[in-house]
Subunit: 139 residues, 4 copies
């Protein structure tokens, strides 16, 4: 299974008064990992937008296991959980610098036209990305 | 069933380059609704902290149905989905100004000691809140 | 002098590990006050965008005087500091619930075309808003 | 003059509906550069906190020159602008990937006790950092 990995240094503004990373601050971390995954599949997310499409988030599911803190550099791992003509689901794990699992997550996405938010077939608009994802599914 | 409701005006910084509310920006909206729910049950979240406890998020599940935009005033509804001695789950719906359902969500929480993040019995540390939640469950 | 005022309840995610409101979290508060000021002058910011213009921030100057905390409801006051054909400067004060002055600020803005970010004459594209601002300057 | 430099990849959630980086999103970028500067001076900001001190922002001044966009990797440069027993001012420049100057900024800071926010002498509590800053001033 192809797993992409990014390192993210916690920013002070991402913490909250509990002294830990705010639970909502992880969504951009997952996004950064997801972009790395897409890039390793041969495409940049910005190219999707330049081609007139965006890839909104349909579903998010996060389980928080262990608090992360300021001073931590987090490791975010991401893989392809599911892929179809119209939906892509990514799985994630976030670890702190001591190797503790901080959270597990899944996000589901479609590809839509930027101008009207109508869903399109990923296979049709980005055939190479789709083919690469299908290859990765079989690994 | 007791449902609390807050109105939230979308801030410009909560939108993203898709021209819609950033998917991560909804977490603070849910939080604001949840606080209103707790207050209507007779307690302020800040009082929990003053008593030496915090209530971290354990699980988040969000399904995005319809994009919200800058200029929208959102209605966030929240109710008690489940309650036990050590876990509380809230359910949410967010509507835009035209009455479109933008998202549904669930968040699960525990109560832990602020100094060591060890979970405690909600019934034991906040007996009145617990009793009120049990009453609300039966409604 | 016309002063607009908004009340803002601090959200948990707007605090940081110092236990106070994160210094960057105030910018959306100033924005919310500024929008109220524009609305009281007879226009909604969203109408600017619908007309094909946006009003980017050119300069920000903030002096932090007193920390605000979760649990505070802040009062943000905003007034017109300067106005010209191509620039508008707003002044701000933020107070916490005890009446302590938390910060003073100024933000300077232009109006630009949404498609190419070229500055335009505010008097030309929004003559009524400009006239109202000129009236307010003399108060 | 000692200049520290960090590279920051713009995150999607840091953009707004104007299609550019939200003006408030730059404050964490400046912070990340400032931390690098402190580290290159031989100390980690987290060590300040572990020693019982925090370094709040007293003043922020930003001039926005050119919009940055999603897809940009920004270069943030930071240097010591002023230093005294009780105040430190940093200067910043942010460039986009094409070398355009996006903004210039200054932030002023004190060091205070974490428990009561009373200012302390930087020379007294962190003599080595203070000495290194004095050396850098003369470069």
């Amino acid at each position: 299974m192809h797993i992409s990995e990014v390192k993210i240094r916690v920013r002070y503004g991402e913490t909250d008064a509990m002294g830990i990373v705010y639970h909502g601050a992880y969504l951009p971390f997952l996004e950064e990992a997801r972009e790395a995954f897409v890039e390793e599949a041969g495409m940049k997310y910005i190219e999707m937008e330049e081609a007139g499409y965006v890839s909104p988030v349909l579903d998010v599911q996060i389980s928080y296991k262990h608090p992360a803190k300021y001073g931590d550099t987090l490791t975010v791992k991401v893989w392809l959980e599911e892929n179809s003509l119209v939906r892509t689901t990514y799985g994630y794990e976030v670890y702190n610098k001591n190797g503790n699992l901080c959270l597990t997550a899944f996000t589901k996405h479609s590809v839509v036209r930027k101008d009207n938010f109508k869903p399109v077939s990923i296979k049709k608009v980005f055939p190479e990305l789709y083919a690469e994802y299908e290859r990765r599914k079989k690994q």
